[in-house]
Amino acid sequence: MIRQTVTTAMLAGTLAMLAMAPAAAQTYVRGNDGDPETLDQHKTSTVTEANVLRDLYEGLVVYDTEAQVIPGVAESWEVSEDGTIYTFTLRDTAKWSNGDPVTAGDFVFSFNRIMDPATGAKYANILYPIKGAEAINKGEEGELGVTALDDRTLQITLERPTPYFLELLTHQTGLPLHPASVEAHGDAFVQPANMVSNGAYRLESFTPNDKIVVTKNPEFHGADEVAIEQVEFIPFEDLANCARRFEAGEVHSCSDIATEQIADLKARLGDQVRIAPYLGVYYYGVNTSREPFDDLRVRQAMSMVIDREFLAEEIWSGSMLPAYAWVPPGIGNYLDTAPELAYATLPMLDREDEAIALMEEAGFGPDNPITVEISYNASENNKNTATAIANMWAPLGIETTFNVRDISAHYAMLRDDKIHDVARAGWIGDYSDPQNFLFLNRADNPGFNYGLYDNPEHDGLLDTAANTANLEERAKILAEVEAMILRDLPQIPLLFYSSRSLVSPKLSGWADNIQNAHPTRFMSLTE
């Protein structure tokens, strides 16, 4: 009998502890890549900011845990036959954190603000598919194709059918702002005391270099399903610091892992180390306006001898995938079997022979060597990659030198001077569509066209694809474009990115996905 009592008491105690534990653990300490430049969604462009803004605001549509598009403020939508008019019905339960309803007018205000050149929105061009957007953003007259038919109906007219438009709206540039707050506070609407948001969380505090704290927004329409009460975003520039604090149990997730630590952490932490395909490509732009890089045979030979498996496994510790194509695998709106480089499956020795032959044909070899300068932005991994590639090029009679700049100087050189032979660059897609990668080689896109590729046929095909509503046909045209890039190699794809995270077993609801998007509202914490 006594034993019974003791057991019951213990059981009650355990239950009480169990009941208390989640309450105590309701703060999710989340490692982020750094501090946001700003919390003004219109002035941001990076993933760092997206991670915070995704919790603070809700767009018309949002990503679920698998990065699939699901209804957000819009509960449903219709697309016109020709794919150019989207009519969204907003849910009547959508509210701002001050209790105001979220109306179609709020979205009209927001889209007009981001396109206004005076806003200085860095990434406004992502929304150029909207009718009139490009003209307005470039300072010309025009009317934006965003209208509120009534408080709960929003109509967006596009320039042309854009199959990835819904996907685009998940980007932070598509998030609404609370017009009254912006009008009352101007740029200061982002401060914790002023910010009114419509997402699962609202801003509590922002201490630069320390943390951003957001707490659950009771006005959020799905507040009942939001399990985590509070999130602290900690900026980690020093990745090893995040790993240490993760292991000490102070941080529940890290948004990146230092390459040199991956093997060790994997061995000790097992599946808490998450490495998942990510929508990004790491490549070398070859300056085709310079000799001898104007010779296709030289570019092909340079690409052929690069052992991408070695780079992925040895240099990047398996945190990258070898890239034999330009568009990352797993992308939406594309063919199942996309084009790839012809020598993808050829053994390295054969590739080397073939490359040497190509170089000889072009008149180069160990007796008549060429000098190549690789420009890259300073980082340990970029350095190791460039050094390895220089070694792989040596048998072709290529003597490699390096030009290392910090990131600002590197990209300023690529944008303005273009004085590189070969330059390292990387691109992380903003939406899951091949167009988001193929536009990098357009002649009229000098900001990204580091290969100085100028092929009217290529650009023409992209234009055709842009006006093709049928998704299958469009995919075929885009595949033609990619095949053209792989044939001409103005930029040499090397690796596809992976997202690398540390995720505590206490945290559930974190699913690996190609966008590396992890909304906190679907997660929960346990002790």
Binding site: G120, N209, F236, N241, A248, D406, A425, W427, G447
Partner: protein
Amino acid sequence: MLRYVLRRLLGAIPTLFLIVTGAFFLIRIAPGGPFDRERTLEPTVMENLNRIFQLDKPLWEQYLHYLGNLARGDFGPSFIYRDFTVAELLAAGLPVSMTLGSLALLTALLLGGLLGCIAALYQNSWIDYAVIATATFGITVPNFVLAPLLALIFGVWLSWLPAGGWNGGTPANMVLPVIALALPQVAVVARLIRGSMIEALRADHVRTARAYGLPTRMVVVTHALRSACLPAVSYLGPAAAALLTGSIVIEQIFGLPGIGRYFVTGALNRDYTLVMGTVVVIAVFVVLFNLIVDILYAALDPRVRYD
């Protein structure tokens, strides 16, 4: 004395002016600008941003503009923390860096002084050797090695202390950063004090004090230590500078919200105003600290007088 302080402060103005001018033009020489990233901006957007931040004006005009604002205490807006002004960032970061720095300095002086005295009193004994060995070790191990090691041992393996973060300045969060910051300085101070203490113990006035039959503790503390302190005091200037640069590293490794990190992130991202702000604060700090050292010197050394 007051006149001396005033003269020194006035004399600092041209120094600061030169530093500000040098830093302003040096950071502008660095290629690239605050808006150059992977994503290239639309030309119109770039134009707008340049206008908003007044980067479209000629450099000399920007310089005069900056000087004018600075004279009024306005450090301008930050480029990479667009929700904050540089003054707000510095106001938030300075207390953190100052707390860390002063605690580390205090630790270095007290612990280093104590160790140095002990080593000097037991000169050439095993205690002396142990102190000197530890000191040498402390100087040779750089704090970017020491700091992660401390975090790993006491934060991750033993779980005694937090492995990083500031947590609003909780004492537990300060222990490891302060130790990591102070340890190399402890070593330097210990060696300095040991050397000067040995000398002081052999000095005439100490011998006289001994001859009077004063108790050993009194001889050491009031007579020998006072003159033995002088080298340590003159080392305060360099020590403060070392702590400042050290805190850039330590703040990064422990993820602390001090101003050291702004210096690095500001420079790397071409956040002109933020870099300038940190330079000005650090320059003012170094000038003030040197002044304090000189005044302390006068208080300690009867041979030094300021008129």
